[in-house]
């Protein structure tokens, strides 16, 4: 066998004129370049004759290097291929400036968020407690540098609050406040916060003292919290629309350490409350709500209403204990005798299963549902990506056309034979994630003479089974026929309704109804998700305002840098206005 070694190596040289660097810096640059993958050899030196001789020994003395003057900096890089070498040369400036770490013994107090973020590059929060007149601008500056904001200041206008929260939401950032007194993020208290044990309960609160009380009570009861997120008292007003609360609920619902969520607030606007209840229901976690003084609606799966702040804390702790021991445990309560066991039937049900006998109706249902659900699986999907992998097993939202050839081999069409659909209904009911089953019932000549007589008992059994399991299940039937059909359409409808089904006679109406129901079960915050790293990264804070907050963060051993803040432009409104316009 012929053996040959084939190496293709490329050398490129960059000459920088008039650049003086200390030789130690050059050696570090050389090492930095040599560490890059694919780089074989590097020479970084000033163009003196002695240095050129060294380059020659290592075969790096290219023609350009040879002609360099003693004041010129030669950077020669050898690598596998051209792309690698070019890539390496682009890293020179990055490597040269990479060294800016904070200097020890530095006692300089920065005067701006920009300077502070250079001194504490890991800072992820800005705590703002300057006078209200200036607070929105400081918060805006914090968002400009992609920091979350804890806005302690009050007297911030509602318009500013909305603008700040919208901007934050668009960047995946949180603005707690204005007038936010308390938060605990990753074990560190911001503003006023009690020393609370870490544990499995996440808290969202529009009231600072409410948050303090609930977190302290959870601690007293022996449990602890993951995070306590403040929102500011106005967050749940109709105008602000609970932006921060929605972000926080969404964040805690995704936080793997949070097992139970407590949501507390003064009574919110009705529309906001409804929206939050749907969102809480979709969180996939038990949510305990204390909207102080709010008359809660009928039972909602997954949500438990607490009477008081103490009650909220106690219910949360009991749920955690219930989950760990599997049996109800009484929580010692010094304030209220809590005897009841929390009934937290966590509603996981959120999916649709459509079991059609008519192919065109199934197809139209898929089309209409596009307005409501991003993904629906099917044996005949609109998009091949959502083809059901196993026809016998539904997943997520699914619509199957049981009249399709794949299902009718060796048996009658489901318009004549209900057995396959009845089996499938039973199958779907066993899945706790199913919230709604949609069926079509085709009447007319040639069809089954009395389909409701077989389907209605199956529907009734399914609804009972779900109810016994503490689950919400809804069954919607679309009856397709005329009053002159042999099956007696009115009687068919009556049988189905008596069994507990919701009946429609218009396909689009039926499907839109289904879509709306599912949309509310699959509620999202409607906002860009805030990264989970917000919660699990070590807290590093830029504090703008009250010095006591810096001291308190230092006591908690959080990284903090205090900004020696002064009113911008010395408080000169004309100049401040110009600066503000220049920032737009």
């Amino acid at each position: 066998m012929p053996y040959f070694s084939y190496t293709m190596s490329i050398i490129k040289t960059e000459i920088r004129q008039g650049a003086y660097y200390d030789s130690i810096i050059l050696m570090q640059l050389q090492a930095g370049l040599a560490d890059l993958s694919g780089v074989e050899n590097v020479g970084v030196m000033m163009g003196t004759e002695a240095n050129k001789a060294l380059l020659k020994q290592t075969n790096l003395l290219t023609a350009e290097a040879k002609s360099a003057l003693p004041d010129d900096l030669i950077i020669a890089v050898q690598g596998h291929d051209e792309a690698t070498v070019i890539e390496a040369l682009t890293k020179i400036d990055e490597l040269l400036v990479k060294r800016h770490s904070a200097i020890e013994e530095m006692d300089y107090l920065p005067q701006s968020i920009e300077a502070a973020s250079k001194m504490l590059p890991d800072a992820n929060w800005v705590l703002v407690s300057v006078p209200g007149r200036y607070a929105a601008d400081v918060a805006r500056e914090a968002l400009r540098f992609n920091k979350h904001v804890f806005l302690y200041s009050d007297n911030v206008s509602t318009d500013d609050e909305i603008a700040l929260k919208n901007e934050a939401a668009s960047k995946g950032l949180l603005v707690m406040g204005a007038d936010c007194g308390t938060a605990i993020v990753n074990g560190i208290g911001l503003g006023f916060a009690n020393q609370v044990r870490r544990g499995p309960i996440g808290v969202v609160g529009a009231s600072g003292t409410g948050l303090q009380h609930v977190t302290a009570r959870i601690h007293q009861l022996g449990s602890g919290i993951t995070h306590a997120l403040g929102t500011g008292g106005r967050d749940l007003s109709e105008t602000v629309g609970a932006i921060t609360t929605r972000q926080s609920l969404d964040l805690l619902s995704r936080d793997p350490d949070t097992q139970v969520i407590v949501l507390i607030s003064k009574p919110p606007a009705k529309s906001v409350a409804d929206n939050l209840l749907r969102l809480a229901r979709s969180s996939g976690k038990p949510v305990i709500i204390n909207f102080i003084g709010y008359h809660h609606p009928a039972e909602i799966p997954g949500i438990q209403f607490a009477r008081t702040l103490d009650h909220a804390a106690e219910l949360a702790v009991m749920l955690i204990k219930l989950a760990s021991t599997g049996k109800p445990t009484k929580v010692a309560s010094s304030t209220i005798e809590t005897t009841e066991t929390p009934e937290m039937k966590l509603n996981q049900a959120r999916y649709l299963r459509g079991l059609f006998s008519g192919g065109t109706l199934a197809y139209e249902a898929l089309l209409v549902l596009q307005d409501y659900l991003p993904v629906v699986y099917s044996n005949a999907p609109l998009d091949e990506a959502y083809k059901l992998p196993n026809l016998q097993t539904s997943q997520s939202h699914t619509i199957v056309d049981l009249g399709d050839d794949e299902f009718t081999i060796g048996r009658l069409h489901p318009m004549m034979d209900n057995r396959l659909r009845i089996q499938r209904i039973q199958h779907e009911v066993n899945d706790p994630e199913v919230a709604l089953i949609l069926l079509d019932v085709m009447l007319g000549h040639g069809a089954h003479p009395d389909p409701a007589s077989e389907l209605a008992p199956a529907i009734q059994a399914a609804l009972e089974q779900a109810k016994n399991a503490g689950r919400n299940l809804e069954i919607v039937t679309l009856v397709c026929g005329t009053d002159e059909d042999p099956q007696d359409m009115a009687a068919q409808i009556e049988q189905l309704q008596n069994a507990g089904a919701h009946v429609e006679t218009n396909n689009e109406t039926a499907v839109r109804y289904v879509g709306q129901q599912l949309q509310s079960l699959n509620q999202t915050s409607g906002l860009a998700p805030v990264s989970l790293s917000t919660l699990d990264q070590p807290l590093a804070v830029i504090n703008v305002g009250l010095e006591s907050f810096t001291a308190s963060l230092q006591t908690q051993q959080a990284a903090v840098i205090h900004v020696n803040w002064r009113p911008p432009a010395g408080g000169n409104q004309k100049l401040m206005d110009i600066l503000a316009r220049m920032k737009k």
């Binding site: 008039g18 650049a19 003086y20 920065p110 701006s112 002064r566 911008p568 600066l579």
Partner: protein, 413 residues
Amino acid sequence: MNIEQANQQAVDRMMEARPVLVGIGTARDVIPGMQDNLLLHAGAPITWERASGPMRGAITGALILEGKASSEAEAQQLVESGEIKLEPCHHHNAVGPMAGATSASMAVYIIEDKTYGGMAYSNLNEGYGKVLRYGAYSEEVISRLTWMNETMAPVLKAAIEASGGIDIKALLAEALHMGDEGHNRNKAGSILFLKALAPHIARTCGDSNVAGDVLQAIGDNALSVLNPVMAAGKAMADAAHGIEGSTIVSTMARNGTDFGIRVSGLGDQWFTAPVATPQGLYFPNFSADDASGDIGDSTITETVGIGGFAMAAAPAIVTFVSGTPKDAINTTMEMYEINFAEHKYFTMPQLDFRGTPTGIDIRKVIETGITPRVNTGIAHKEAGVGQIGAGLVRPPMACFEQALIAYAEKYGI
């Protein structure tokens, strides 16, 4: 192009300019627009009436050197009659320390920006004591200027030309690592300058006594490199000037009466306000009562990211204000607040080789209320006395306020 992009372009040009000292010429031959009846001075435009003592003294001295006057009264008459015109150095691609008086027959350093092709000029440094730049015009001052013009300048010219040019940017970057800040402390830079010149002086100057005198003059004067450094600064600042939309300061200069700034995106308009008096240390028998107002074009160094901005690199300077090395670092840290960038080539070992604060942004000055910190020499308020100390000073905030308002008007903000 938005403000950020315009400023980025301005500071990139400021940092990428490569000023090289390429020669020496006579002002009337090389400085654009120079005339025999024209005197250049530091700072923004000034009249005799408003000129400070040191400025009047320097004008008098320059006119004596030119053989046009023999006393301050004669000088005043020439200037007030309009027979002799006064214009800022900055209007002629030039800069000068303290009074900055530059007349037609004076020798000047020639700086060429090898990146963008700009040219800049500065007179030669006289050393310490009674010197023209501080308003002294006695016979010894004039005879020293004559020696510099007639003896030193030709020797330096031959040496610089023989060297092929001295890269002032590289020299500055190295000096910053040797305890200099490039404005008030130029000990290392002047030695590097001497090192660069010495072999060429030895080779090109036929008279070893003259060579010895020139080498000694350069070596004894720890400020000998200041003037080429200032001209280099002028070249860097000019490269950054005239970028549409930029809020970067491209000139800071003092005429002893007013502090003046110009802004890259605001054309050649000066924004001026009365100068402050520097705070610092005084030579024996002098005090703050004797001090003139802040004067000189040397603030071009701070304009391009050295001088007071690089204070962390030159802790020895803080003794001027009884400070500690920590104060030196804090000075530079404070300047980061109002500058747009960190210098790519000028770095400071004391800050782990972080780049110096570069490109004063008028927005940040107004927003933070922090004005630039300048290291400066202090002149006696009366003409003819000279330097009486050195210290720190800041420009008046009003210059920046006017500039911001003018910017808002020009750009319809």
